[in-house]
Amino acid sequence: MNGLPEQFPTDGRAAFTGLVCPDCSGNLVVSVRSDHVSFHCRVGHAYGIAELVLAKEGALESAVWRAVFAFEELAVLLADLDRHGLVHWCGPDNCRARSELAQEQANRLRAIIEADRLLAERSPGNGEIRMGPA
C-alpha cells in the first residue's frame, strides 16, 4: 500500500496519494509550492503535513472507540438476553462466554488507546515539519 507518490510533483501541480481525506474519505492529492507541502481532497478539505498526521491519529482513535463500543454493546446485549432467558438458541453457557470475551476484547482495546502515544507528544519544539534539508 502506497501512501505518498514516489516523486513529489513540482511547480504547483498535484499528484494522487494512496491516502484518503480524514474528513470525507475522498482521495487526497499532494502538491508542493515553495517547499510547502499540502494535501487536499476533491471537495476542498486541506491539510499541511503535521495537520494530516494529527487528523489521521484522531481518526485512528475514533475508529478504535467505535470498536470498543461495538464490543461493549455486544457484551451487554448478550448479558441482557441471558438475564431475560432468551438464549435457548445458542445455549446459556455459550452466550455468557461470548459476552465475557467481548468485554475482555473491549478492555484490551481501551488499554491500546491508553497506551498509544501521539506524534505531537513526541515532537520537540513547536512541531514544525518541513520538506527538504533543515
Binding site: 474528513d23 470525507c24 509550492r33 515553495s34 517547499d35 510547502h36 499540502s38 481532497c41 471537495v43 476542498g44 478539505h45 486541506a46 491539510y47 499541511g48 503535513i49 503535521a50 495537520e51 487528523a55 513547536n126 512541531g127 514544525e128 515539519i129 518541513r130
Partner: protein
C-alpha cells in the same frame, strides 16, 4: 499605500490563529482613520460560540469594524472580520460568505481570503500572516506573492503560538 514603484496597495488581508488578537490589535491601532484601503481579517475562532470579535477589534481601530454579509460590496476605509463558521472571500468587489469545507481544520480559514485577494486584487493586495495558524495562510501568502502583491509573515519567534510552516520565498 504606494511603494517606490508607485504601486497602489489598497487591500490588506490579515490572518491569525491562536494568540493572534494581540498582534491584530497592534496593527489596527496604527491604521489611520483616513486610510483609503480595505482591510479583511480572518481569525481562527469557535464555530459555535458568538464572540463579538468585531466589537472587540473595533475598540482598537479608528476605522469601522464589522462582519460582512454575503454579497456586501467591499468598501475602502472599512475593516471586515470573517464571521464564525463561514469562509470569507473576495469576488468581483463583493464579499462572499460560504460554508465550504474546512481548510486546515478551520472555518473561517485564512487561505480562502488570501487566495481570493490574490485573484481579485493582484498586486494591490498585501497579505499579513500573524501568530501561528499551522499551515493555514501559507499557500495564500504564496498566491499573493505570485500575483505581485506583498506578502508579510510574523517572525515565529514573535508569535504567541509559533507554529507557522516556513519558509516563504
Amino acid at each position: 499605500m504606494i511603494n517606490q514603484d508607485r504601486t497602489v496597495r489598497d487591500t490588506f488581508v490579515l490572518g491569525a490563529s491562536a494568540g493572534g488578537i494581540e498582534a491584530l490589535a497592534g496593527i489596527l491601532k496604527r491604521l489611520p482613520a483616513t486610510l483609503s484601503a480595505t482591510v479583511g481579517i480572518v481569525l481562527h475562532r469557535s464555530p459555535t460560540f458568538e464572540s463579538q470579535l468585531d466589537r472587540l477589534l473595533g475598540r482598537f481601530s479608528a476605522l469601522p469594524v464589522g462582519e460582512p454579509a454575503d454579497g456586501d460590496p467591499i468598501k475602502a476605509g472599512q475593516v471586515y472580520v470573517a464571521p464564525r463558521d463561514v469562509h470569507m472571500s473576495m469576488h468581483d468587489d463583493r464579499w462572499r460568505l460560504y460554508r465550504g469545507p474546512k481548510v486546515h481544520f478551520s472555518r473561517p480559514a485564512i487561505d480562502p481570503l488570501f487566495m481570493s485577494a490574490a485573484a481579485s486584487r493582484g498586486r494591490r493586495a498585501v497579505g499579513v500572516l500573524l501568530s501561528g495558524g499551522g499551515s493555514d495562510g501559507v499557500l495564500g501568502l504564496l498566491a499573493i506573492k505570485a500575483a505581485n502583491g506583498l506578502s508579510i509573515a510574523q517572525q515565529p519567534s514573535e508569535a504567541q503560538a509559533p507554529s507557522v510552516s516556513f519558509p516563504l520565498r
